[in-house]
Amino acid sequence: MSIDALVHHAAAAARRVAAAAAAIGLLATALPAAAAMPDVQQWTTDNGARVMFIEAHEIPAVNVQMTFAAGSARDGEHPGIAHLASDLLMSGTADMDADALARAYENEGAEVSTGAARDMGWVEFRSLSEDEHLQPVARTVARMTAAPAFPDAEIERVRSQQKTSLENKAQSPGDLARRAFWKAAYGDHPYAHEPLGTPDSLDATTRADLQAFHDRYYVARNANLAIVGDLTRERAQALAETLTGPLAAGKPAPALPPVPKLEHDRTIHQPFPSTQAHVLIGRPAIARGYERWPALYVANHVLGGGGFSSRLMTEVREKRGLVYGVYSYVSPMAAAGPFIIGLQTRGDQTDQAVGIVRKEFDRFYDEGPTTDEVDDAVKNIAGGFPLRIDSNADLSGYLSMMGFYGLPTDYLSRFRNEVREVDATAAHAAFADAVGQRPRVTVIVGGDRADSGHQGGQGAQ
């Protein structure tokens, strides 16, 4: 995040789109060179939380991610409650208010945050690794996570903040496109709804609802812990007990229902006064643990996941200059996550760009990648392996994903080895099997404003 923020601020202009999608696509590419393969240790805490740990002594710091199956897929009758519950963790405990919590962390130089997505809710922090800093931070994180006070005034404030976030999304054509895509592609599945809920659903959510949500999902047996940093195994084990000790044992969240099949093609066109149209094309694909994931990953790399060398980038940007960015990704989730192609282009170019993308999608489905394309993709993914795990922050992200989705500790090296074995036939077959072709959802939002940024009588200079 720091780099992005810095580059965004300092540069404000760069060559490549840092699509959030790309980050999702990369989640499983961490592939250390054989020599640099980190040793992943795994155990379970006394009350049943799963832990993965990598010992890394290069800098005196520790990264921790605690995840719970407590994302918006668990919202049930209260759309938005998972995000509310997550935000309210930072609002205080019985004996510390929000100010006291913030001071407790920041006086030690620790960075602590909470968040939620569709599958998970999480608490993450990094801290200096010396006990004088780490111990008080960990104890406070543990109390905050296990026993938030949900003060009424804070509930009102955070509810109101979440409504502002909803309005913010409603003024962003990209967010509107994503919302429309999930709704159209996921029908009545718990992934379908807007994770922030609606103003009405937020108003209808009570303190008792929040407490019940927290009591059900923020429990040890629904928790997964990733620790990377300057600790011995013994200290890491003690840290894991400190962090999860106050949690009730509880029980794991139930499996999500299967994603319903799409019945027919849908194209949704939503007007919006932006100069660019935001386009998403895709369909539900696969869950984490899909056995042909390495081959699928290679296939998507060729189609639209591999940056400049990808087919979509070549056809839409490099040959025609229609977009700044175009990408595709597969996002494996607890239930079948989506395959999505995304782009943004000036409104009057939309049909042309959509036409090219659909044609490339169909051609790829029919013919698959070439042997040369697959060779290049494999070289990039396998060869780029050490880059993806060269920081503790990267590693803790991978560990967290592996632990949450129940992947084995040797997942990374296994993935790397399997990528090396992928050929064009296997990549094509995996794409056809996991992504398929139709029916599919196309969402087009915006592009309705005349593009005249330098006109309107203001061009005095």
């Binding site: 720091s2 923020a5 810095l6 580059v7 601020h9 540069a11 404000a12 202009a13 760069a14 060559r15 020599a35 800098i59 929000a98 919590l101 913030a102 001071r103 962390y105 920041e106 006086n107 030690e108 130089g109 960075e111 200096l128 404030r157 109101s160 903040q161 502002t164 976030s165 309005e167 913010n168 054509p173 919006f272 006064p273 932006s274 591999g306 940056g307 060398s309 025609r320 200059g321 229609l322 977009v323 960015g325 943004q344 070289k379 990039n380 993914i381 060869g383 780029g384 880059l387 060269d390 920081s391 922050a393 404003r449 593009d451 940024g453 330098h454 309107g456 203001q458 061009g459 005095a460």
Partner: protein, 463 residues
């Protein structure tokens, strides 16, 4: 919600936290042709970050060609006599690496991240495009189309970015610091391949370049590789980099920006010195600490008082980045909470500034800021890319690698009286520009605004 202005100094200035590393930890060399080479060893993984920085950016441009530095950055991937369009990136990708580039007000930089034993591949390719660029007109036409899409994506359809752009343009009435890095729309429409070629020939040469390498390398070997690939490049006579000075501030400037939006948004900027324009660096250190008191986390004053306490902002923040060749902006901004209006938010945020000038600043607040500066330094050592960024910035803005140490020490020396002093000196109404985003709604029927709601002064809207 996205914060308006993250507090960037802690990110920008990575301050060594009293550990055993030597002064700057950087090996510095200069080739005979004037090219600088900076190397930092980091052996935690068998990888390397390689960057070539050029001392040219949007502050060097003039109206008519704004955005040319950034368009040239794009064209640097479009082929040389030796390598076809896109081939640079293809070679890096096939070798397991990734590459990209970025442009700012003060510099343009290109980077690769790759296995350490592929460093020479990067240097060979960078040397090739330092002087051998093709700049074919048809490539230019397509690529400038891409850049126009980039501008739409980053600015035109982003109400807050648009507001910030107009605020900055108003805050710097005379200097080129007002210009957006990506360029004004009309200039992007009018730019020619010849403009880009001229820019390339004027600025891209070894004596205007810095090679930065961080990773699993030996400095002497990097130097040898740099000599091998860049050593025969000829230095050129560089254009004078205009000292981008400003006119004296004469009073608060106000701007309203209408856009397709639902939420109002406030962006305030005070014109303040950067590390290179400040009389006494202590002022820059104190401004950084001041930013930390306002927005150094959830326990800082803006979050505590304006977001949580009085619930006037849904989100708000402050930022100051002293890493620039020109004066910079100390920024404060945010989005009103539900049921609050933008004027109330402005008053509340300005009241926090006034409290810094008059009220007490507790020892605990100062300690928290200083602790966080030390801790974030440790955290930033987790990223080689970040270390390289910092080295390149320090060099291209001209303060040098040792500015670090001085900065770290300086921040730790800052007192409450220093913070009050710089608040009184710099955060004055004369230096302030206020931009308010006026949401026109997003139902698509809102009238398109002309220039009628222009800022005080009438002369300050560009674009």
């Amino acid at each position: 919600m996205q914060k308006y202005a993250a507090r960037l100094l802690a990110l920008t200035m990575c301050l060594w936290a009293g550990n055993a590393l030597a002064a700057s930890g950087v090996s510095e060399f200069e080739l005979d042709n004037g090219m600088k080479v900076l190397v930092r060893e980091d052996h935690r993984a068998p990888v390397v970050v390689s960057q070539v920085w050029y001392g040219v950016g949007s502050v060097d441009e003039h109206r008519g060609i704004t955005g040319v530095s950034h368009v040239l950055e794009h064209m640097m991937f479009k082929g040389t006599g030796a390598h076809g369009p896109g081939e640079f990136s293809e070679i890096i990708a096939r070798n397991g690496g990734k590459d990209n580039a970025f442009t700012s007000h003060d510099y343009t930089a290109y980077y690769q991240q790759i296995a350490a034993d592929e460093l020479e591949t990067c240097l060979r390719l960078e040397a090739d495009r330092m002087t051998g660029l093709t700049l074919a007109p048809e490539q230019f036409q397509r690529e400038v189309g891409v850049v126009r899409e980039e501008r739409r994506q980053r600015i035109e359809d982003q109400p807050r970015s648009l507001t910030y752009e107009r605020m900055r343009a108003a805050a710097f009435p005379a200097s080129t610091a007002r210009q957006p890095v990506i360029g004004w729309s009309a200039d992007l429409e009018a730019l020619t391949a010849q403009d880009v070629r001229d820019w390339y020939e004027q600025w891209y040469a070894p004596n205007n370049a810095v090679l930065v390498v961080v990773g699993d390398v030996d400095p002497q070997q990097v130097l040898a590789l740099a000599r091998k690939h860049f050593g025969d490049k000829k230095p050129i006579d560089l254009p004078r980099r205009v000292a981008s000075t400003e006119v004296e501030p004469r009073g608060e400037t106000r701007v309203k920006v209408h856009a397709a939006a639902k939420l109002p948004y406030l962006a305030m900027g005070w014109r303040v010195p950067s590390l290179t324009t400040v009389d006494d660096p202590a002022d820059a250190y104190a401004l950084d600490v001041l930013a930390g008191i306002l927005d150094g986390g959830r326990s800082a004053r803006i979050e505590r008082n304006v977001v949580r306490g009085r619930e006037i902002a849904a989100s708000a923040g402050a930022g100051y980045s002293p890493m620039a060749r020109t004066d910079e902006l100390f920024t404060i901004g945010g989005t009103p909470a539900q049921g609050r209006d933008i004027d109330t938010l402005e008053q509340a945020l300005r009241a926090e500034v006034e409290r810094l000038k008059e009220g007490d600043i507790g020892a605990a607040e100062l300690d928290r800021v200083k602790t966080n500066v030390r801790a974030s330094d440790v955290f930033q050592r987790d990223s080689m890319y970040y270390q390289a960024m910092r080295m390149g910035m320090l060099e291209t803005i001209g303060v040098g690698q040792d500015a670090y140490e001085r900065y770290q020490e300086g921040v730790q020396q800052v007192t409450a009286a220093d913070v009050r002093r710089v608040a009184q000196r710099y955060l004055t109404d004369e230096r302030l520009t206020v931009a308010q985003l006026v949401p026109d709604g997003v139902d698509g029927n809102a009238p398109r605004r002309g220039a009628g709601e222009g800022p005080i002064g009438g002369d300050t809207i560009v674009d």
